[in-house]
Symmetry: C2
Subunit: 280 residues, 2 copies
């Protein structure tokens, strides 16, 4: 199967490597604004050919849009204009409402499937891509009823080849759940990094003392703004809602500490420990 | 060398396994309030013999106190009363001021070395212990000038056998730095777990959607209150100081989002990204 990969970074590149290894992709056209990334992707075997959008799409059965969510919003209508019968279009963005709304009345809407693989790292660019990233993780398909059956089947096959398990949701529900489970983690981690950078002026001490616990909590703070500013903006209301709750949860810790309320402190921690039963 | 291990949990147990594997410990006496843990530790080869405090200490060259910091505070004077010439006592607690202050005027103060290995996990109990935990991590020795030279040398040998690199600090400075680098990470992680548990009532969805990013940020929230309530209390002023800064950093994200201030949002993220240059 011939595939167009729009965006040859971490997510797109990792998908390409896996789909090739599985024999699902026979030939991959790479489209990207960043020529250096395209050349790297070709060298790394992620893509076979650098192409323009039009040439790539006209030669492909499947078109994967793997660029930041603001860029997806900007170009998706134009990309869908190129949908001839039999072609399937999918994205991999971390927000969904903003994307599906914009193509709601597009004549080729049914050729598009809104997809979100629940995997990522703090790294970016083709050199971070790895074929073994998605196995065992969740893939979310949103608003399946708005996609043609054959397009849906195609994306389900993609997920199967990535060895992901599928979950189906409304785009609006997806954005609420990801605000809880993914987006707030990033804000927390950024804010934690900024706290430490603000308070701990001795960088050398941070490096020397940093425990595995700190490294793990602050890992996501290495993630780039090019990807995350658009996500926070597109999911603004949900993210603000969760962020307010998070600040209020931190205030409970503050109050328990200030008032030497050991029972409350212990209760807050015991409640948090429940996550142990949910995340193995 | 014969060693007494007071507290046969994650940290003490892991130290014992490594010190045995290295041939540094020839025989280990286990002392613990929890008889089940003592029996498990014996079965796992962490200790060789279950003993009373008095018998264990009288037969040992080195006494390692590896219990929660509130329990250490309560028993440390009594333990130091047993210090005969040539015996070395050390703790492994995550706070230091509260512990060294209490023995400041103890006649055997110089037999004690305040030590903190910068390693831990969200798990506890002897069955979580592993011999390969400390290698490459930092070990902090506090207020070295208050320990006898031979006692200091003994703890330096322990650190060497654990394959840790040593850092020397004042106890007060240690407590400031660990508030930044370890304690606040735990509060953040607890608060994040509570946020998600509060907002996301569908536990099944958390489990299904949880990405590696979320799991990593929330991992520390599995840590037990028995260990962490005493740490937060003993380091109350420093922890509150960092917690206030953290809440104010989160408020900046909130404000940037509410006001659609993209430049501020990007600046906050770019600043957080600096952690990449500090933590490899």
């Amino acid at each position: 199967m011939k595939i167009t990969l729009i965006g040859v970074g971490l997510i797109g590149g990792s998908m390409a490597l896996k789909l090739k290894a599985k024999g699902f992709a026979s030939y991959i056209y790479g489209v990207d604004q960043n020529l250096k990334h395209l050349e790297e992707a070709k060298e790394l075997g992620i893509i076979d050919e650098i192409a323009t959008l039009e040439v790539a799409v006209s030669n492909s059965d499947l078109i994967i849009i793997a660029i930041p969510v603001d860029a997806t919003r900007k170009m998706i209508s134009k990309v869908l204009d190129l949908a001839e019968p039999g072609k399937t279009f999918m994205d991999v963005g971390s927000t969904k409402e903003g994307i599906v709304t914009i193509i709601d009345n597009h004549p080729n809407r049914s050729r598009f499937v809104a997809f979100h693989p629940m995997w990522g790292t703090e790294n970016s660019g083709p050199e971070s891509a790895t074929g073994e990233s998605f196995a065992g993780k969740a893939g979310v398909i949103c608003d399946r009823e708005n996609s043609a059956d054959d397009a849906l089947k195609m994306v389900e096959m993609v997920a199967e080849n990535l060895e992901m398990h599928l979950i189906y949701m409304k785009a609006a529900d997806h954005d609420i759940h990801t605000a809880y489970i993914s987006h707030i983690s990033h804000i927390t981690s950024y804010a934690l990094a900024n706290t430490v950078l603000e308070k701990e002026r001795e960088e050398d001490t941070i490096f020397q003392l940093a425990s595995s616990g700190f490294s793990s909590t602050v890992r996501l703070a290495k993630s780039h703004p090019e990807m995350w500013v658009p996500i926070f903006k597109q999911n603004k209301e949900n993210v603000l809602d969760v962020l307010n709750e998070h600040i209020s949860q931190l205030r409970k810790f503050k109050s328990a500490l200030e008032k030497d309320n050991d029972e409350l402190l212990e209760e807050l921690i015991r409640n948090a420990n429940k996550i142990r039963g949910i995340l193995r």
